[in-house]
């Protein structure tokens, strides 16, 4: 079974979709000749040529808007927005245009476009190159939002995103690019909108994505030694949200912890608590706990950044607290 890094999985998915459909074109800043600043796309320019793999000027608003124009006229563009912190630069095109184009035209267009972007902290990039972007986007109907946390998902979900006839934002975690994992030959195209139970357990449900999901798995390993069996769910897609997998799990465990690499306010973690309150309240045996960044920002200095992002220890402590709450 082939083992790929998360980075190689991204590249393979893009290459496979470009081979499968000549309407797929790819562009962004330094993605072609240089192969991307995170080296996610080397060799694509050489394989597919300058007509299909293009370096753009540093003009996020223009090339994200151009992706929309290309999508509604018959192409299937993939645009890379280098750092997710640059998403707000193109926010008008994403929120007012891309998300709404089909709706406000009364369904005259399909909008098959994918925006890839690297997000997340832990690698010392400071406040403007580390943020997670999903919560800025979730408030806008009309976007699908995908956050792969493993190489197999980075591969299959990106292929799924490119096949979608709707706009999809794929947020890759830059701290995971070197992560290795099995990507079976027959992985193919994964369906968006499905969560995955990464570890079975019967005492506490922990929900997270990307780096936080991996830290939750580490916490689960520690707690298993104490006799606490933790179920870890990777949401993988935040829009559409797979609510049934979460509800099914808390029905079993009666306890919920939500872990996010994001500020506390207005986030999908709050939405999950709302889901538990609306549809899962009678399953719950204990208060729900959220572990997140509170009001903290991504600092440059390592000790500060480490404090800001939920650590394995903080996650472990929160799960333990919920596990024993009466």
């Amino acid at each position: 079974m082939p083992v790929l890094t998360y980075r190689e999985a991204v590249r393979s998915a893009l290459a496979d979709e470009m081979r499968a459909d000549e309407n797929v074109i790819f562009f962004g800043e330094d993605v072609a000749v240089a192969g991307g600043v995170f080296k996610t796309t080397p060799g694509l320019y050489e394989e597919f040529g300058a007509e299909r793999v293009l370096d753009t000027p540093i003009s996020e608003e223009a090339f994200i808007g151009a992706a929309l124009g290309a999508a509604i006229t018959g192409l299937r563009p993939v645009a890379e927005l280098m750092f997710a912190d640059f998403i707000p630069v193109a926010m008008d095109q994403i929120v007012n245009q891309i998300a709404k184009y089909r709706y406000m035209s009364g369904g005259q267009f399909i909008v098959p476009l994918t925006i890839r972007s690297a997000q997340g902290g832990g690698v010392g990039f400071g406040t403007q190159h580390s943020q997670t972007a999903e919560n800025w986007l979730l408030n806008t109907p009309g976007l699908k939002i995908v956050l792969p946390g493993t190489p197999v998902d980075a591969y299959g979900l990106l292929r799924g995103a490119i096949r979608e006839n709707n706009p999809v934002i794929v947020l890759e975690h830059k701290g995971l690019y070197n992560l290795k994992g099995e990507v079976p030959e027959d992985t193919g195209v994964l369906e968006l909108g499905k969560a995955k139970v990464m570890r079975q357990g019967r005492h506490v449900t922990v929900v997270g994505v990307q780096l936080m999901m991996h830290r939750a798995l580490e916490a689960a390993e520690t707690l298993a030694k104490e006799g606490i069996e933790v179920e870890v769910i990777d949401l993988r897609t935040l829009s559409p949200l797979d609510t049934s997998t979460v509800l099914e799990s808390i029905r079993k465990t009666g306890r919920l912890v939500v872990v996010e690499e994001a500020p506390h306010a207005s986030s999908w973690g709050g939405d999950l608590v709302s889901l538990a309150a609306d549809e899962g309240i009678y399953y719950l045996d204990a208060p729900v706990k959220r572990v997140n960044m509170g009001r903290a920002m991504f600092a440059y200095s390592e000790p500060l950044e480490t404090l800001a992002i939920p650590s394995v220890e903080r996650i472990t402590a929160a799960i333990r607290e919920v596990a024993f709450a009466q």
Partner: protein, 334 residues
């Protein structure tokens, strides 16, 4: 005394043939009279929200549309009724949309600022200043990649030339040599502010220089001049020579939106521009060439007015969208 400088054409402006002139006259009248009716409907509370009228600017949309081919695409502004009708949207589809009916061009989901008809290449009017320019750049990417020979046109106002999306789009279209025609309708006002308060240059076409593309200032009141200058730009674009920026000098007779009466205009300015009304200019040429007379013009005007009034009565009887439409068209299902 307000004087209007008339830009000198950069190409030979030949008279359109008699049929083309008649089509342009009909189209400009249709736009003018539809918008006059829309204003009346607003005052009668038949239409909600707001509207932005292009009365006085009809030669720009009409002259450009008359030089388009099937497959060409357009993005435009919230002052977009003229662009839509000029491209061939029906008065019915527009008025039903304005009245929020399910038979409107966007099934009632768009309204005045979002006139869209993909079947005629109208990729959409836009309510965000400048946002339609990058979208047009993308449509041109498709045309270039698929070698369709189509061109992509985007209309925008003078004030949009101060927004980032304008500069980014001209730059991108130029470095990629894309078949885009940037058509600026310089009606001298950005919302309520005259151009010289907000913009340090008089002829906006100079802004094309830094993007290494032709920038041409055009008499936007003369439909034949608009047609000729646009056609030359379109031919360059179709030949792979890249984008052109056309600045159409024109004038907005009405305020920015329906509540604006335009108190900021200098005395005499509106009257001076009305001497160069686009419908009047074409009609005068056609009378001089024996292609129409005042009586025939009056009949055409009355017939157009009657038709628009009939459309309004029809639209009043059309159904609204229902709850079943609330959550459709957010995503393509399938």
């Amino acid at each position: 005394m307000v004087t209007i400088n008339i830009p000198t054409p950069t190409v030979e402006v030949k008279p359109l043939d008699a049929d083309a002139r008649m089509n342009a006259l009909r189209k400009m009248l249709e736009i003018r009279l539809t918008e006059e009716k829309l204003q009346e409907m607003f005052l009668a509370n038949l239409i909600r929200g707001t509207t932005h009228l292009c009365i006085g600017q009809e030669a720009v949309s009409t002259g450009v549309a008359s030089a388009l081919r099937k497959g060409d695409t357009v993005t435009c502004t919230y002052r977009g009724h003229g662009h839509a009708l000029a491209m061939g949207m029906t008065v019915k589809a527009m008025i039903a949309e304005m009245m929020g009916r399910a038979s409107g061009c966007c099934r009632g989901k768009g309204g005045s600022m979002h006139m869209t008809d993909a079947s005629i290449g109208l990729l959409g009017a836009n309510a965000i200043v400048g946002a339609q320019l990058p979208i047009a750049v993308g449509a041109a990417m498709t045309a270039k990649y698929k070698k369709t020979g189509a061109i992509s046109v985007t209309f925008f106002g003078d004030a949009a030339t101060n927004i980032g999306a304008f500069h980014e789009s001209l730059n991108l279209a130029s470095v990629w040599k894309l078949p885009v025609i940037f058509v600026c309708e310089n009606n001298r006002y950005g919302e309520y502010s005259p151009q010289h308060w907000t913009t340090p240059v008089e002829d906006l076409s100079v802004r094309a220089v830094s993007y290494n593309m032709p920038g041409i200032t055009v008499d936007g009141q003369d439909v034949e001049t608009v047609h000729a200058e646009f056609k030359a730009a379109a031919e360059r674009a179709r030949a792979g020579e890249g984008p052109t920026f056309l600045e159409m000098k024109t004038y907005r007779y009405m305020g920015h939106s329906r509540t604006d009466t335009g108190p900021y205009r200098p005395a005499g300015e509106l009257d001076a521009w009305k001497q160069r009304d686009p419908i009047l200019l074409l009609k005068t040429k056609m009378i001089a060439d024996g292609q129409i007379d005042e009586v025939e013009f009056g009949e055409l005007r009355d017939a157009t007015e009657r038709y628009i009034a009939e459309v309004v009565e029809w639209a009043k009887r059309e159904p609204y969208p229902t709850e079943a439409d609330l959550l459709t068209d957010i995503f393509y299902e399938g």
